[in-house]
Amino acid sequence: MSGHHDHAGGAPALTGLRLALIGSPNAGKTTLFNALTGMRGKTGNYPGVTVARYAGRARIDDLDVVIEDLPGTYSLDPISLDEQVVIDTLDTATDPASTPDGLLVLLDATTLRRSLGLLAQALLSDLPVCVVLTFADELTARGGHLDQEALARALGLQVVVVTAGDPAGVSQLQALAHHIRHWPRPALAPPTDPAEAAAWADSVLAAAAYVPAGADERTRRLDAVLLHPVAGGAIFLAVMFAFFQVIFTLAAPLQGLIERGFGWLGDLAAHHLPGGWLADFVGTALIGGVGGVIVFLPQIALLFLMISLLEGVGYMSRAAFIMDRFMSRFGLEGRAFVSLLSSVACAIPGIMATRTLPSARDRLATMMAAPLMTCSARLPVFVLLVSMFVPASARVGPFGAQGSVLFGLYLLGAVSALLTAALFKKVGGRTGQALPFYMELPPYRVPRLRGVVFAVWDACKSFLRKVTHIILAATIVLFLFLNLPVRGSAELQQAGVDPGDERAVAAYVIDHSLAADVGRAVSPVFAPLGFDWRINVGVLSSLAAREVFVATMGQVGAATNPESPRTELSRMRVEEGSRAGQLLFTRETIAALLIFFVYALQCISTIGVLRRESGSWRWPLIGFGYMFTLAWLMAFLARTVVGALG
C-alpha cells in the first residue's frame, strides 16, 4: 500500500501515506486539495477508461503524503464503467498498490442530508475515515445550525471543520495524518439498505441538532433573473458574446505584443547567427515554431480564466441548464456546450473540457465534434482567403460581405460540429446504459482567487506541454521539407538561376524541395478541387498548425514578391495540367479551399490530444479519416456550387 516498514521490535513507523479525497462536486474539494498539496497534477488516466486521475504530494514533517483527488461523486455505487474503475481503487483486493491508506470524506454542511449517504458508503470500504466539513460558515449564515461535536459522537468519527481562507482546519488535517492508526472508527458501519440508511442519517442529524440552511436569498434572486426564460436567455447570449469578445478582442493586443516579441527575437537570430541556413532554421523553425504556439497563450489563458470564473461563481450549471434541451437534440447534454464553445478558441481546451461530462459516450462524441468548431487558428486562413474571394466593399444587405461570409463559416463549423456529435453519439463507443442526467445547481458563491489562478495556471501549463513539442517538431520537419535538398551554386547556375539573387534562389529551392515533391505526388487527390502543388504544400504544412498555411503560402508567394504576398497569390497561375496558364486562385478554388479548411482535421496537436484523452489511436485516426473525406466532398460541392452560380 505505501511506505510502511517495521523497526526491529516496536511499532512500525510511518514513512509515507496515501490518502484519497472523496466528496460531491461543488463541495469545495478542489479548494481543499489545493490547500493541502499546492496544486493538483494529472497522473494519467484510471486503467482502461478515459477518466483523468489527479494526485498531489504534501510533505508533512517527515511524512510523505500522496493525496489522490477522486472525481466528485454523489454515490460510490457505480453505474458506469468509469465510476466502477474509480471506486475499485478503494478496494484492498483490487490493485493493492493504488488502495489508499485512509479516506478524507468531504461533506458540505449545507447539503448534509444528502451527503451523509456518501459517507455511509465510504465507511463500507473498511478504511480509516476522517470527515472534513466544509461551508459550516455558510450554514450558519443561512440560518442553519450544527453541533459539530455531537455530529462526531453520532458518527463515531473525527470531524474537522475547514473554511476556505482559514488555515486552521487545514493544519488540523495535516496534524491528523500522522495518527491515522488512531483515527476513531464506529463500531458498526452504517446500513446499506436505503431505507435504513435514510433512517440512520435522520437520526444522526437529530443528534447533531441539525437545522438545515434556509434557501440562499442571493441565489434565489439571481436565478429569478438568470434562469428566466426570456431575461435569462438574453443574459446567456450576452455572456456568450462577452466570451467571444474576450477571446478575440481582448487577446488581440496581447497577441500582437507576443508576435512583435518573437519577430524581434527572429531578427536577433538572423543578425547574430552565421549565414543562411542556420539563421534561417533558428529564425523560422525554432523561434517561429515556438512563437506560433506562444502567440495562442493569451487566448487560452483568457478562455480558461472565463471558464474558471463562471464555474467558480456557479453560473456554468445554469448555462448548461439553459442549453440542455438544445444539446439533447444532438444526443449531447448541456455541459457539452462549454466544451464546444471553448473550442472556438482552440479545440485542445475544448477537448480537455470534456472531462466534466459523466458519460463516456458523450465525451467521445464531443471530442470528435470539437475540432469542427471554427478555432482561432483557422481565422488567419479565412481572413486571407475571404479577402481574395470577396472584395472589401461588397455588401450583403446592411452587412459587409466579408464579415457575412466569415460569420457563415463559423455557423457552418458549429452546425457541422453538432451533427458530427450526433453521429458519433449513435455510432461510437461501447453501448453503455443510458446515464441519467442530473446536475446540481450550487448556490452562487464568490470564487476563491487562489483557486481560479491555480485552475488557469494548471490549464495553461497543460496546454503548453501538449502543444509545444508537437508544433515544434512539425515546424522543424516542415522547414526541412521546404528547404531540402540544399542546392549548390553550380546546380543553381545550371538551372539558370543566379546564385546571388536570394529571391530567385528561394523560389527555385522551394520549387524543387522535398515538400514540392510531396505536393506534386498528392496532386491526383487534390486536383479535382482545383489545388495545385503549391496549395497542396500549404495544406500539408497546415498539419503542423492551421495558421502555418498562411505563412507557407506567404513563403511561396513571397519568393517572387516579398512586399505583398497576397497580391502575388492572386496573380499566381497554374503551371501544369489541363488548367495551365489560368489563374490559380479562382473563386471556385478559393471556395473549395475555404470549405476544406472548415472540415479537415489538420492540426497534429489536436490529434495528439485526442489520442491522450480517448486513450488510443483508434478515435483520432477515425476522426482524421472522417473529416478528410468530409472536407474533400464538401470542398468539391462548394466548388461546383460556386462555379454554377458564376
Binding site: A154, G156, A187, D202, S203, V204, A206, A207
Partner: protein, 196 residues
C-alpha cells in the same frame, strides 16, 4: 422507518447506545422480552443485555461477539421491534444503575409528566389518565376513555407509566383504577381516530 443510530458507550466496547427518535418509546428498564427478531436474539442469548432509556436503547453483546458481525441484524431487529413499543416487556428496577431518588412528588409533577411523552401512548389510543392522588411515594391514577375496560391496559400501561414515574419522580408504586364505564363514551372514544 424510525430514525436510529448507534453511539459508543464510554468504557464499554461490548455495548452500543442506540439513539432513537420517536415519541413512542417502550417502557424504560431492562428488556425481558420484545417482539420479533429482537426478542428472539435476546432469548437465544445473542444479546447479553438490553436496557431501555428515555431516548435510547443500550444493547450489550456477550463476550466473543462483535458488532461488525452482529450489528446489522440487531439494527434491523430494533427497527422492527420499535414499531411495536407496547409489546416490549421491561423490568424497571434493573434499568437505571443509579436508581431513582425516593421521596414525594406532587400531583402537579405527575400530571406534568403524564402530559408529556409518557402519556402519549394512552392518548394515542383515545384514553385519558387522571391523577387522583400522590401520597407517600404512591400514585393513584384513574384510567378513562377508550383505555378503560381494555384488558391489556392494566398490565402494559401500568408498566409503562410506573417505569417512568419511578425513574423520573422516585415513586415506589403506581395504582391504577378504572373510571366507571359509560359504554356510550367508551364507544365514541374508540371510534375516534387515534392521533399519530
Amino acid at each position: 422507518m424510525i430514525p436510529l443510530h448507534p453511539e459508543a458507550v464510554p468504557e464499554d466496547e461490548a455495548s452500543l447506545r442506540w439513539q432513537v427518535v420517536t415519541d413512542r418509546m417502550p417502557a424504560e428498564g431492562q428488556l425481558v422480552s420484545a417482539p420479533g427478531d429482537l426478542g428472539d436474539l435476546l432469548a437465544a442469548g445473542a444479546l447479553a443485555k438490553v436496557v431501555v432509556e428515555p431516548d435510547s436503547v443500550v444493547v450489550t453483546l456477550p463476550a466473543g461477539a462483535s458488532w461488525q458481525a452482529s450489528g446489522p441484524r440487531v439494527r434491523t431487529a430494533l427497527h422492527t421491534a420499535l414499531e411495536a413499543p407496547l409489546e416490549w416487556v421491561t423490568d424497571p428496577a434493573a434499568g437505571r444503575p443509579g436508581g431513582a431518588t425516593a421521596g414525594g412528588a406532587t400531583v402537579a409533577e405527575v400530571e406534568a409528566l403524564l402530559a408529556g411523552p409518557a402519556g402519549l401512548t394512552i392518548r394515542a389510543h383515545g384514553g385519558q389518565v387522571r391523577v387522583l392522588a400522590v401520597r407517600d411515594g404512591i400514585a393513584d391514577l384513574e384510567l378513562a376513555g377508550a383505555c378503560a375496560g381494555c384488558p391489556a391496559a392494566g398490565l402494559t400501561i401500568a408498566t409503562t407509566l410506573s417505569g417512568v414515574l419511578r425513574a423520573e419522580l422516585g415513586l415506589t408504586d403506581v395504582r391504577v383504577t378504572e373510571a366507571p364505564r359509560r359504554p356510550f363514551v367508551a364507544l365514541a372514544a374508540l371510534l375516534r381516530r387515534p392521533q399519530p
